[in-house]
C-alpha cells in the first residue's frame, strides 16, 4: 500500500521546499519525499540537514532505547547462540567442539520423539484451535448487540497467568471419577477417562487447554478486521437479498484472507515452541508422549547442564522454523496478493 520510494517526477525535484514540507507532514501517499532522484549525491549535506529539520534526530533518539534493549536482550543473545552451539562449556573453561553438539543432538533417541510430539501438537492445534477464533470472530461480528461484552468474555482466559490456567485445567483433568470433566462425562454415562495419564489422550488434552488459553487474542484480531470491512458491501449484499452464509463466504472471508494467513503462520511458529503446558501438566509424560522440542532443550540446559547441546537444538529449531516460514510465504504468496 505504500509507494514512498518511487522516483519522483522531475518537475517536483526542483521544488525542494515543498518536498520538505511534505516530509514533515509524513503522509505516506505523497510522492516527492524520496531522495532517490538523480543528482541526490551532490546534495548530501542538504539531505542530512533536511532530515534533521524534519525531526529525524528526535525520531532516532526516541528509537534509541528500543534499539538498545533489543540489541542487548534479543539480537546479541541470538548472535551469541551461534558460537555457543559449537562450544562445550561449564562457564569456567570453554572448549570449541565444532559440530559435536549437533551430532549429539541429532543422535539423541529422544529427538524424533520430541519432533513427532511437537508436530502432533501443531497439527491438533491447527485442527482444533485454528477454526475456533475464526468462527467466534465472525459470530460476534454478526451480533447486533452486546458485541463488546461478548469480546470481553472471549478474551478473559488470555488474562489469566498461563501457569495458573494450566494448574486450573490440571484439576479439571483429575483422572479419578470425582474430577470435574469425569463428573460431567459420568452424567452422560461415559468414563472416567484417564486424561493426562493416557498416552493417547494426553496430547489432545493439552491442545484443548492451550486452545482455550489463547483463542481470545486471535478472535479479537478477526473481530477488529471484520469491523473494518466496509459496511456498504454488506448493505449491497443485503439489498441483493443474499443470506448470512453468502455474506460470510463472499464478503467476510475474502476480507479476512490476509489476516488469516498471518495468524496461521504465527500459530505455526508459536505451537512449535510449546513448553509451559506440557512442562506443568505432565512433565513430558506419560512415557515421553508429551515431550516437546522445547522441553528437550530445557532438559539439556537445566537438567543436564549442557548449554552447548541445548543451544545447538535451539539453532536447529530456529532454522527449521525459518524454512517453514519461507516455504509458507512462498506457497501462499499468490493467494495473498490476488
Amino acid at each position: 500500500m505504500t509507494r514512498i520510494t518511487s522516483p519522483a517526477p522531475p518537475p517536483r525535484a526542483v521544488r525542494r521546499q515543498a518536498a520538505d514540507a511534505a516530509a514533515r507532514r509524513t503522509t505516506i501517499g505523497s510522492p516527492g519525499t524520496s531522495g532517490a532522484h538523480p543528482g541526490a549525491g551532490r546534495r548530501a549535506g542538504g539531505k542530512v540537514r533536511r532530515w534533521v529539520r524534519a525531526g529525524g534526530l528526535s525520531t532516532l533518539v526516541f528509537f534509541l532505547p528500543t534499539l538498545v534493549v533489543f540489541a542487548l536482550f534479543s539480537w546479541w543473545p541470538i548472535l551469541r547462540s551461534l558460537p555457543l552451539s559449537m562450544e562445550q562449556t561449564n562457564f569456567i573453561s570453554t572448549q570449541w567442539v565444532w559440530f559435536d553438539n549437533f551430532t549429539k543432538v541429532l543422535s539423541d533417541p529422544l529427538l524424533p520423539t520430541a519432533v513427532l510430539n511437537t508436530t502432533w501438537f501443531t497439527v491438533l492445534a491447527l485442527v482444533i484451535g485454528f477454526p475456533v477464533p475464526l468462527i467466534l470472530g465472525i459470530a460476534i461480528g454478526e451480533l447486533r448487540r452486546s458485541r463488546q461484552i461478548a469480546a470481553v468474555f472471549v478474551y478473559l482466559p488470555v488474562i489469566l497467568p498461563p501457569v495458573a490456567a494450566v494448574l486450573l485445567w490440571q484439576t479439571f483433568y483429575d483422572p479419578s471419577s470425582h474430577g470435574v470433566f469425569n463428573t460431567l462425562l459420568g452424567w452422560l454415562g461415559i468414563g472416567p477417562l484417564p486424561w493426562l495419564n493416557s498416552a493417547g489422550l494426553a496430547m489432545p488434552s493439552i491442545v484443548l487447554q492451550a486452545t482455550w488459553a489463547s483463542f481470545g487474542t486471535a478472535t479479537i484480531v478477526y473481530l477488529a478486521t471484520i469491523m473494518s470491512v466496509q459496511t456498504e458491501l454488506y448493505d449491497a449484499a443485503e439489498v441483493d437479498g443474499s443470506g448470512i452464509w453468502n455474506r460470510i463466504w463472499h464478503i467476510t472471508l475474502p476480507q479476512l484472507r490476509g489476516v488469516i494467513l498471518v495468524l496461521l503462520l504465527l500459530q505455526l511458529i508459536g505451537t512449535f515452541q510449546i513448553f509451559t503446558e506440557p512442562y506443568v501438566m505432565t512433565g513430558g509424560g506419560p512415557e515421553n508422549h508429551t515431550l516437546t522440542i522445547l522441553m528437550l532443550i530445557f532438559r539439556y540446559a537445566f537438567v543436564s547442564g549442557n548449554y552447548g547441546t541445548a543451544t545447538a537444538l535451539s539453532v536447529l529449531l530456529a532454522i527449521g522454523l525459518g524454512i517453514l516460514s519461507f516455504v509458507y510465504l512462498r506457497v501462499t504468496r499468490r493467494w495473498s496478493n490476488s
Binding site: 525531526g55 534526530l57 528526535s58 533518539v61 526516541f62 534509541l64 532505547p65 538498545v68 561449564n90 562457564f91 569456567i92 573453561s93 549429539k104 533417541p109 483429575d174 483422572p175 479419578s176 472416567p192 484417564p194 493426562l196 495419564n197 493416557s198 498416552a199 501438566m281 505432565t282 512433565g283 513430558g284 509424560g285 506419560p286 512415557e287 515421553n288 532438559r299 540446559a301 537445566f302 537438567v303 543436564s304 547442564g305 548449554y307
Partner: protein
C-alpha cells in the same frame, strides 16, 4: 513554540534515562585485598523468616568478631539446578553455597566445585562428620564439599488413616508384602489411596532407585561406569507397583505427580503411604499443614536381599575460582553456622529457639550428621525446644545407625532418574506393560546416558 521545546528536551531526557539504566548494570568485582579475606556466602534466611534471619545475622557478627581477618558477605542466593549455570556463567556464584546430594557428583564431573580435601582434613569439626555422609561429596579420593544436612529415604505414612483402617500406627510395614497388604486395607476401609509414588521431574526415578535398593540391587555399578537398570530387584519393585495399581487398585488414579503433589495429597489425608526423604516433615507439616500427630515415619521396608536405603541432604560447596584463603575462611564459616550447635550449648539453644519462634521444627527426624554421642548431647541441650512428637519415629530413628546408606548413582544421576520416570509411568498408566522388555530397552537408554556423561 512549546512544541518545539518539547522536541528538544524529550530526546535528551530519554538519553539521560537510558544512560542511567546502563550505568546500573555495571558493578564492581569483589575481591580480597591485604590480609583481610572476604567471602560471599549464599543461603542467608530470607526476610520473611524473621527470627532465623536475626539469629543468622548475630551468628555472622559473632563469627566476624571471632575471626577479625574474615569479612562475610551474606546473600540470599540459593542453589537451583535451573539457575545455577547462569550463576557460574555470570561469576556471581557465592564462594560458599549449599547444594543437594543428588547434584554434587555432576558438579564435580563438570569441574564447577573447588577441591577442598586438604582444608577438610585440617578442620576439627568438619572432619568428624559421619563418614557415610561425608563420602557423598567425594570422588577419586578427593573431597569437594562439607555435608551440612542429611536424610535417608524412608516410608512416610498417615497415622490417622492407619487408625481409621484398623491398622496399628505404631507398627508400620517392614516388608513390601506388608506395604501392599496395608495399602489394600487402607483403600478398602477408608476409600483413600493406599500408596502413592512420585513419577515426574525425575522424582519417579529417584524413588524407584530407593525401592530397588530395598529389593537388593543398585542401578549403576559402584564405579558409575555401567548402568544396571535391568535387574531382578527393580523388576520385583515394578511388579509390586503393577499389582498395587492394577490388581488391588490401591495406587490411586493420577500418575503424573511430583514431590509437591504427593506431599499435598499426604497432608490432605488422601494418601496412606509413600516413599520419600525422612526430612519430609518440613514439607508435610510445616508447609502443607498436616497435623503433626498424623505424620508417621518408618524405615524404608527391606526385602531379604535389601541393600539399605538411599541417602540425601545438603552439602556446602566452594566456588572453583575461590582462593585457598577464601576456602579456609569459608570452611570456618560453615563450622560456625552449621556445626557449632552440635559442639556448643548456647548456640544450640539459641538456634533452636529461633526455629520454634519461626514455626519451623526442632528435633524433626533426619539422618544425624555426627556420631550418636554428639547427637544425643545436642538433643539433650535443646530438649525443651523440641516441638515434634519424636516417639512417632522411634523405629526410623533406631534404623539410622543400623540400616546401611547406599549412595545415589555416581554418573548422570538426574538423567538416569529422568529415564526411570518413564518406566514408572509406563507400569502405572498402561495395564499391558511388559516389565521384562521395558527394562531391557531402558537398560540401553540408561547405558548410553551413563556413557555419554
Amino acid at each position: 513554540m512549546k512544541k518545539k521545546l518539547w522536541r528538544t528536551i524529550a530526546p535528551l531526557a530519554l538519553v539521560a534515562l537510558a544512560g542511567a539504566g546502563l550505568a546500573g548494570c555495571s558493578g564492581s568485582d569483589s575481591g580480597g585485598s591485604g590480609d583481610k579475606v572476604t567471602i560471599t556466602v549464599g543461603n542467608e534466611p530470607t526476610s520473611d523468616q524473621t527470627a532465623a534471619l536475626k539469629v543468622y545475622k548475630k551468628q555472622v557478627a559473632d563469627f566476624e568478631k571471632a575471626n577479625p581477618n574474615i569479612k562475610v558477605n551474606p546473600t540470599t542466593t540459593k542453589y537451583d539446578a535451573q539457575t545455577f549455570q547462569a550463576l557460574v556463567a555470570s561469576g556471581k556464584m557465592p564462594d560458599v553455597i549449599s547444594v543437594p546430594f543428588t547434584d554434587i557428583q555432576s558438579l564435580i564431573a563438570r569441574g564447577q566445585v573447588a577441591d577442598i580435601t586438604s582444608e577438610i582434613k585440617a578442620d576439627p569439626q568438619a572432619s568428624k562428620v559421619n563418614p557415610t555422609v561425608a563420602k557423598v561429596a567425594q570422588a577419586g579420593g578427593k573431597t569437594y564439599g562439607a555435608a551440612i544436612g542429611a536424610y535417608t529415604m524412608a516410608l512416610i505414612y498417615n497415622r490417622a488413616l492407619f487408625t481409621k483402617a484398623g491398622l496399628d500406627p505404631d507398627k508400620p510395614p517392614t516388608t513390601w508384602e506388608e506395604v501392599r497388604a496395608d495399602a489394600k486395607t487402607i483403600t478398602d476401609k477408608t476409600g483413600a489411596q493406599g500408596y502413592a509414588a512420585m513419577t515426574t521431574n525425575n522424582t519417579g526415578g529417584w524413588s524407584l532407585t530407593s525401592v530397588s535398593y530395598a529389593f537388593g540391587h543398585t542401578l549403576e555399578s559402584a564405579d558409575g561406569k555401567k548402568a544396571t537398570v535391568d535387574n531382578e530387584a527393580t523388576k520385583k519393585a515394578l511388579e509390586l507397583y503393577q499389582q498395587m495399581r492394577w490388581d488391588d487398585n490401591s495406587f490411586g488414579s493420577n500418575f503424573l505427580l511430583n514431590q509437591d503433589d504427593v506431599f499435598k495429597q499426604m497432608a490432605a489425608g488422601n494418601v496412606g503411604m509413600m516413599v520419600n526423604g525422612s526430612d519430609g516433615y518440613n514439607f508435610a507439616v510445616t508447609n502443607d499443614g498436616m497435623n503433626k500427630d498424623d505424620f508417621g515415619l518408618a524405615p524404608l521396608p527391606q526385602e531379604k536381599a535389601g541393600l539399605g536405603t538411599l541417602g540425601g541432604g545438603s552439602i556446602a560447596i566452594f566456588k572453583p575460582k575461590a582462593t585457598k584463603e577464601q576456602i579456609s575462611a569459608g570452611l570456618k564459616y560453615v563450622d560456625w553456622i552449621y556445626y557449632r550447635q552440635y559442639f556448643d550449648k548456647s548456640t544450640a539453644v539459641s538456634t533452636a529457639k529461633a526455629s520454634v519462634a519461626d514455626g519451623s521444627a526442632v528435633g524433626a527426624p533426619g539422618l544425624q550428621l555426627f556420631d550418636n554421642a554428639t547427637n544425643d548431647r545436642y538433643l539433650g541441650w535443646v530438649k525443651d525446644e523440641i516441638n515434634v512428637p519424636r516417639e512417632n519415629y522411634k523405629a526410623y530413628l533406631k534404623s539410622t545407625t543400623t540400616l546401611p546408606l547406599v549412595p545415589e548413582p555416581m554418573t548422570q544421576a538426574q538423567q538416569l532418574y529422568g529415564i526411570l520416570d518413564n518406566v514408572v509411568q509406563a507400569v502405572l498408566t498402561n495395564k499391558d506393560t511388559d516389565i521384562d522388555s521395558l527394562l531391557k530397552t531402558t537398560q540401553t537408554q540408561a547405558q548410553s546416558a551413563v556413557a555419554g556423561g
